[in-house]
Symmetry: C2
Subunit: 259 residues, 2 copies
Amino acid sequence: MAVSPFFRSQKDRAPAGAAMSGPEAEHRVVQVIVEAIMDHRVAPGARLIERELAIASGASRSAIRNGLMRLAHAGLVELSPNKGASIAMCSPDEARQIFDARIVIETAAVKKLAGTIGEGELERLRAFVEDEREAYERGRMEDARHLSRRFHVLLAEMAGNDVLTGVIRDLINRQPLLSWSRPETEPRFCGNHAHSEIVEAIASRDGERAAHLNMEHLRALERELGAERAAAMQELRSAQAADGPDGNARQADESPVVD
Amino acid sequence: MAVSPFFRSQKDRAPAGAAMSGPEAEHRVVQVIVEAIMDHRVAPGARLIERELAIASGASRSAIRNGLMRLAHAGLVELSPNKGASIAMCSPDEARQIFDARIVIETAAVKKLAGTIGEGELERLRAFVEDEREAYERGRMEDARHLSRRFHVLLAEMAGNDVLTGVIRDLINRQPLLSWSRPETEPRFCGNHAHSEIVEAIASRDGERAAHLNMEHLRALERELGAERAAAMQELRSAQAADGPDGNARQADESPVVD
DNA sequence: CAAGTATAGATTGTTGACAATCGAAACTGG
DNA sequence: CCAGTTTCGATTGTCAACAATCTATACTTG
């Protein structure tokens, strides 16, 4: 392995003078792995070897271990005893459950929001959607995807229930695990227009409509990711047939990034 | 501290001879602490000292540490850096959020259940409620409280969404933290009649009614716990003047299993 | 040649000791 | 007598080495 998919530049590593210990290191490791998953630099199923991560990040193995445990709690990595950690893989059934759960919780959030939101927060929502649109139109796809996901978290936050907000945040963070193809061809981010419609439905105090729009929006996203997933598996299958009997020659060689 | 509130009998400790290492130890530690919270043997805010737990349980400090991290993620203990772990304390606002979250999720579960439940599962629900009633009438209050909480988890399980079931389970496990008075006077467990009514509403495919009944049931429980909490704080305040050491001579013969 | 098996390398899990940090009691000076 | 400071015990956080376990390769044998 020439370079880790997590820590690519020296800048990412700890500053040469500070050894970076403590919860700071752990938090940074978690952050870096989450970002790598978000940007599809690592594929689900990829093994996460503690010592490699420790060397690459400059942190101790203990910090890595704690970080991996935290990520496992969030559902982003799977820990099997004596076998190590790997990026979590979501079965189609799990994917369905995740979207169903999001619909249940976000529906409640949006309905409540339609009844209680103030003018200031409404303006903040509109500004957010505008930022999304701008990022999209300027071709900053990474930012657009990030903001697009963040939008749903923002809705939950505004609804004022920290418990449910935490659940929503975790579920949204797992989204990159649902389709594990790289979004090169076309950016898979929530349609900006849908977000705008939802905000306007909230603005007109029509909770039912806002909830319905959000649900359809999520269902559409689920279908898209399902199609992507199917395409990726199809591609993988044909690649396996062409490669010969050795199916996982891909992992041994370089980074487990699908490119 | 003469004896730990967690590990009181030698039977609770590791079997003499087997050093009990690995994830087994961690899981057992988690189990034991959860049960102690459930039975109100420890009060919210109580400090959890790693070395004490390690000695009392016979597990290593690392296992204790991992267990505490897991409990912290479940919201049962609070971890503050360099200051250690303590049983979590729920503010009144958090309590409200927990119940609101339960209402949101359980409402969805119950509605779905009313539409899809089969005859076999219905029978299982009825048998469960019957077990509850029996435990209550025979004065097995520990079992009754346990079954009473378990009922709501069962509803979530039957709805078929593991993500939401996990959330519900965590939220219900936090219930003993909401009112931290000892349930000596009268068992605070969900009214059995309410559960029966909910099951019958589900049986008649009336999801709206079942959801409404469950919501009112939860609201009533929230009010009860709130009142208990207020009483406990009042009692605590007056007990501060006169020294009142709690006699923890309470014996729990057999603790219910906690998932 | 195939199938099962021994072996070696790599990786995780655990332990105990050490360093960093915190809280509180004792101490000092005004 | 009180405020501030210092010191000390206790507790958490970190680390590196060791033991247990797994995976994959090479090997033996029918």
